[in-house]
Symmetry: C2
C-alpha cells in the first residue's frame, strides 16, 4: 500500500518542528516542541523521538526528511559547521544518528535549503525552473533550487550569496571577504546603521516604517547593496524567481519596489526580463515542508519505475 | 545490441567539429569541416548532413548531441540569442530542425556548457561534485556543472559570471551592469589596457610574457578583477574545481599563481579550503566531447532501468 504522507523535521535552536507531509507538500499533521538543541545531544534526541512517536513514524514509508541548522556535508550527512545555539560535538554524524534512532532512512539538508525547496515546489516559486530563496535577517543567505533539486555545493556551502565581493560603503564583514556587502545588505546591518544615525528603532522593520529622511536614505543604501548581491547570483544562475524571506521581507512593497528598481542597475537585461522578485509565502512551515519534499524525492528515486 | 559510441557535433562560427563519442567521453572518430554557419542555414545544414554521413549516424543509437554557439532555450532547443558569425533566423528552432535532418532525437546546449561538461566528466575536473569551467578570452564566461548535470538557468543564461557587479577600476562594460568587471578581467581587456599603456603587444599572452613593469602591474589588476568574479561564483555555488580555459590560460603559472593568491581575498575560507584552480585539459575537442556526454545522459535516462 502506498503511504500518503512522510515524516519530516525542522530543527531550530529553540524549537523542533515536525510534520506529516503529503507528496505535493501539504502539511497533514504538525507539531512543535522545545528543541533542546541548546542543552545538548541527549535531550535533543529525546525531543526528536517524542515528535516521531506523536507523528506515528512507524506507520510511515521508508524515508524521513530532516532540516538542520549549520552546514551539512553532502553525502555523509555530517554537520560540519554548527550554529552557536546547537550544542553538538564537532563533525556530528547527524544523519547516521537519526537513522539509528528512527530506524528509517533519513535525508538531511540545511534548513535554508529545505525552505528554498518548499518555496520552489509548493510556495512562492512554484512552477519555476531555477529559484533562489534568500533570507534577509541577521545576515543574507540563500537556498538554490535548480530543476527541482537543492544545490548543495561541494561541501554544503552553496548559496552563501551574502559574502560575494560586490563592494560596500559600510564596515568590513568578519567573513574576511574583501568587498563583502552583507553588513550593509542585511536587516541587522540596517538596524545598526539606523542606531548609529541616532534613530530610536528596535528592528529593521521599524526602520522601514519610519518616515524619517535619514531612514529613507539608509534604506536606499541597504537596498542597493542587496541588489548587488542578488545581481551577482542572478548572472551566475539565471533564476526565473527570487523569493525573499526573513524579517525584512515583511516590509512588503517598501522593500520590493525599490529592490526591483535597483536590480535594473545590477542585472543583465536578458536575465531580468522574465525574473520575478516575490515574498516568501510558506512562513514558519517552509523548513519542515521542504524536508518532507526532499524525503519524497528520495522515496521516488528509490522506488522502481512506474511504481 | 548496445552501441559503443554516439554521434556529437560542436558548431563554431568557422568550423564544424563532429565525432563518435564513447560512453566515458573517449573520441573514437573525429572530423571537421567548414561550418558554413556564416553563410546561412542551407549550407550549414548541408555541412551537418555531410559530417553525419561520414560518422555513419544511421548506425548509432537514438540520441545525437549538439553544441551550438549562442543562448539555447532549455526545453525547446531554440537559439534565442545568436552570435554574430552564425547567420540563422531569429529564434531558430535548431533542435527540431536537426531532428528532422538526422532522424534522431537531438539534445542541444550552448558550446561553453558542453565544454564544461566534458572537463567535469572526462577532463580537468574529473571527480568533482560541482565545477565551474571559465573561459577567459574576448570575455569571461562559464559553464556550470552540478552533480554531473549542466546548469542551464531559466532561459539558458546561467554562467554569465563575467557580468557580476563586483566593481571595476576600468571602463564600463557595454552589458549595462553597474560595476561589471569583465572589461578588466578578460584577455581582450588586458590587451587593450596594455596597448593604451604603449606596450607593443598583439595578444594577452604576449602581455603575460613581457618583462615590462607596466605589464606586471596590468596583469595584477586583471587577475584581481578575475578573482572578484570567481570569488562571487565560488560563494554562490561552492565548487570543488574551477577549470580555466581560453587564450589567457596558456600563460600557465604566470596566471594561476597570482590568481590563487588573489582568490584568498575574495573567497570564504570554508569555500576555498579544498577548491582547486586548474587549467582546462581537453582543448579544442572539449565541446564535441561534452555534446557526446550530454547525449549519453539522455540515452541512459530514456533506457529502462538495468538495461
Amino acid at each position: 500500500m502506498a503511504h500518503s504522507s512522510l515524516v519530516a523535521f525542522d530543527l531550530g535552536g529553540t524549537e523542533l518542528k515536525a510534520a506529516r507531509i503529503a507528496a505535493g507538500g501539504r502539511v497533514e499533521r504538525f507539531t512543535r516542541l522545545p528543541s533542546m538543541a541548546a542543552v545538548g545531544e541527549a535531550p535533543l534526541f529525546a525531543a526528536i523521538a517524542s515528535a516521531a512517536r506523536q507523528l506515528d513514524v512507524e506507520n510511515s514509508p521508508g524515508v524521513v526528511g530532516f532540516g538542520s541548522p549549520g552546514v551539512i556535508h553532502p553525502g555523509s550527512g555530517i554537520i560540519v559547521d554548527r550554529t552557536p545555539n546547537v550544542r553538538l560535538a564537532a563533525d556530528f554524524p547527524m544523519r547516521d544518528r537519526l537513522e539509528r534512532l528512527l530506524e528509517r532512512r533519513v535525508v538531511i539538508d540545511n534548513d535554508a535549503n529545505c525552505a528554498a525547496l518548499a518555496e520552489h515546489e509548493a510556495g512562492a516559486a512554484k512552477g519555476a525552473r531555477v529559484s533562489i530563496t534568500v533570507t534577509v535577517g541577521t545576515g543574507v543567505g540563500a537556498g538554490l533550487i535548480v530543476d527541482g533539486r537543492i544545490v548543495q555545493g561541494a561541501s554544503g556551502g552553496a548559496g552563501e550569496i551574502g559574502h560575494v565581493p560586490v563592494g560596500s560603503d559600510g564596515p568590513p564583514c568578519r567573513c574576511g571577504v574583501e568587498g563583502c556587502a552583507e553588513p550593509m545588505a542585511s536587516g541587522a546591518g540596517l538596524l545598526a546603521r539606523a542606531r548609529e544615525a541616532g534613530l530610536d528603532v528596535d528592528s529593521a522593520r521599524e526602520v522601514f516604517e519610519s518616515r524619517d529622511a535619514v531612514a529613507a536614505e539608509l534604506i536606499d543604501r541597504m537596498v542597493d547593496h542587496l541588489a548587488r548581491i542578488l545581481g551577482s547570483a542572478t548572472q551566475v544562475l539565471n533564476p526565473d524567481v527570487i523569493v525573499v524571506g526573513g524579517g525584512v521581507a515583511q516590509a512588503g512593497e517598501k522593500l520590493f519596489a525599490p529592490l526591483r528598481a535597483a536590480l535594473e542597475r545590477y542585472t543583465l537585461a536578458s536575465h531580468r526580463e522574465r525574473l520575478r522578485i516575490v515574498p516568501a509565502t510558506l512562513g514558519e512551515q517552509a523548513g519542515v515542508i521542504g524536508a518532507g519534499l526532499m524525503a519524497w524525492q528520495a522515496q521516488r528515486a528509490a522506488a522502481p519505475r512506474g511504481a
